[in-house]
Amino acid sequence: MNLQEKAVSIRKRIITMNSKAGAGHTGADLSETDILTALYFNVLNITPDRWNDPERDRFILSKGHGVGGYYCTLAEAGFIDESLLETYLQANSFCPGHPVRQKTKGVEVNTGGLGHGLPIACGLALAAKKSGRTYRTFCLCGDGELQEGSNWEAAMAASQFRLDNLILIIDRNKLQLADRTEKIMNLEPLDDKLTAFGFQTYEADGNDPEAMAALLNGLKPGGERPYAVIAKTTKGKGVSFIEDNPVWHHRVPKGDEIMKAIEELEQR
């Protein structure tokens, strides 16, 4: 399977899993799928059998509500058994509603409150610098999440400590829970803001896993500046009636919608 095919497979898992669970953040899960596909199948040096390797790349899903897409990616990559996806959101599941490292193999940090991932990622990146390790730290944030001030505390630190082994990826779908990000609290000019805080900033098509992989693989330590990638995405990507619609932040497909979504994904 190429990366596009992997992404389709992960999206089908998301539709099936969320429908069965009867809840989930479908829009966010589908938005980030191509970014996770690029990371787990082409970029990160992590595999299930070297999971405890101190030299493994670190990935933090700061937008913890995108956990559905994360679990489906981890299942696709062999970190967790796919049967666990059927237990999503159930009592005592190994796939709870936000990532829990004590529960799910592959999860590094317990996220859910927004604005937590980037400070932790800075700590991990600084630990690598201090201890002479070569791993890279990747942090995936939602765009609305950048309204949390803690991100900008961390952004200053990333620059101050010259964390060129840190890569911030922003899932820029321009939607947050209630409405369009620019209507609730404007983020633009995002590129300029990130650059002003000291990042080497890139923009990419966040729904093209090949393009994402090519870009991320090129972001190597050496420039003494942290990296930020504004990944332009469509929330709910891949299913026409879910795409770019705030209603689908929390919704999951029901009834006929399930087959319709799967069919659309198979046709793409």
């Binding site: 670190r58 400070p119 800075c122 201890s131 803690s150």
Partner: protein
Amino acid sequence: MKDSRDAMIASFISAVENGVELMVVVSDSTSTSKIQPFAERFPERIVNVGIAEQNLVGMAAGLALGGYVVATANASPFLVNRSAEQVRNDVAYTDTNVKMMGLNPGFAYGSLGPTHHSLEDISMMRSLGGVKIYTPIDPEGTAEAVTHVLKSEGPAYIRIDSGLFQNIRRPDGVLRVTAPVRLSEGNDVTILGMGTSSHAVKEAAEILSRAGVHADAWGIPSIRPLRNEELLESIGNTGKVMSVEAHSVHGGLGSLVSEWIADKGIRARLVRLGVPEGLFAPASPRPAIEAAFNLDTDGIVKKVHEFLGASY
């Protein structure tokens, strides 16, 4: 008379000398933590994140996940209140190896006022899963607690007073991190002092003794875990217990004692000295605040006489 923060720093230095991969994270103020001797010795082991407490705790968690034993060292009010969610999610819930030094707690900042007082730290930490909580009573106990947590796994909070205190001599000469320290023996009333409040409790017990009131007085150096068997026995014996803490009466030592009494069905009355319901402490010098809430020696003596004279 010594400052417990100096003891903390000496323990940091000693830990690194003994092979602990320690990283100390501070936010701007290096004088709050008196970190200079450590910074001069091990400049590569100190991270200053600036005035950014959320990032202080988040980065501490990340450094811990990257393999370090991490100590944060900043003023308790800003740690506990400003970065409450980071403490809960990134340290307690994620279970990272972060040791939080809550510096200058209670009314240590005196006249700087309620923005700088820390009356909720124990209450907040107690309500979190997985965080061990220490309240050393003197510089020696601080050194012992810091050394202990740096050698143990998992999240911990240590309440470290910036006041100047003597070391309280342990009756058996043995330092203990999680066991109460007996300050005086008696059968009339049990008095428990949290952390450095133990010093006023000890003096009060001596004054009371001269007046014929014999208090079973204890210094409490740890909240969780705490070996409380002797305390329960004492409370059962005297039937009267007083808690003394530079903290809100909600969620600190007084609340803990009330829970023991209720949970175990002990027949005892409890008087909680601390900052009463619904109040901030005033912006006044520390001794004035302690006097206002009967947390100084005279206040404790007065309150014990009232307690024993009261009929219920």
